[in-house]
Amino acid sequence: MTDDERRALIEQVAGAWRPRGPHGELRNHPGWHDLDDDGRREAAALAAAMRRLEAALDPDGLSTTAKAVLARIRGPR
């Protein structure tokens, strides 16, 4: 994996999208499995920082994690 590919993977994993399994259950991000330990730590730290910013950008204080969870409950709006 090149450095650019690794950075792109971390960017993807730091997002809130997660796939669903056949019964609707949440699954890990496919790219998470391809990251080494340091990459996983970086992705987690980046995700935490991004969620804080997203919440600050949203009038209701909802991060993309919160929006993804709510979309699963009531469907995307």
């Binding site: 960017e11 997660r18 209701d60 204080g61 909802l62 919160a66």
Partner: protein
């Protein structure tokens, strides 16, 4: 911020907006409480799964009289999920000692951060701003799908998103906001 347990009756009644307020206040505490598992579990998946379980099980929650009971329950669920996944896939990484007592007080976005980041966002150029907006508007969609909707290739979308993040980080740093280190 008040005790999020006050939202429980509305959540039990199926009020998704009330549940959104709960998630907004509890998410950072839940994420922090499992941060030490970042190598062995996908924390984002655990946080979302934990919140879905709270929504599904809220009616069975019995307060113990202490404040922030629902946040404490969410943290317990998240940690149990994290330990269980670690035991399955990376047992050598299971913690030797009990996990530290987590902070449970709900968190709301800092009003100053809100103001600064809104100003920083206005300064973003078109394509990076569009990539950021797409993720904010549709986090239930994969990046490839968001990229297609914007007429970008997946790699271009990610490059634009990264650029947006770095520009925000630079702007926030200029205003002395401490979250900028992780974003840069």
């Amino acid at each position: 911020m008040n005790d999020l347990d006050t939202l429980l009756p509305a959540i039990v009644a199926g009020d998704a907006d009330a549940f959104g307020r709960f998630v907004a206040g509890a998410e950072a505490r839940v994420r922090d409480s499992i941060a030490s598992f970042a190598v062995s579990v996908d924390l984002e998946a655990v946080v979302q799964e934990c919140m879905l379980r709270i929504w599904q099980g809220a009616a069975r929650f019995v307060p113990d009289g202490r404040p922030h009971g629902l946040v404490r329950l969410a943290i317990r669920i998240a940690r149990n999920l994290a330990v269980s996944e670690t035991r399955r896939h990376r047992p050598e990484l299971l913690p030797d000692a009990p996990l530290p007592e987590p902070a449970v007080e709900p968190q709301a976005p800092d009003p100053m951060l809100r103001e600064v980041i809104a100003r920083c966002r206005e300064r973003l150029p078109g394509q990076p701003a569009a990539a950021l907006q797409a993720r904010l508007d549709g986090p239930w969609r994969a990046d490839a799908e968001l990229a297609e909707a914007l007429g970008m290739r997946a790699n271009t979308f990610l490059q634009n998103f990264t650029r947006a993040r770095k520009l925000l980080a630079r702007c926030l740093a200029e205003h002395g906001v401490d979250v900028a280190t992780e974003l840069a």
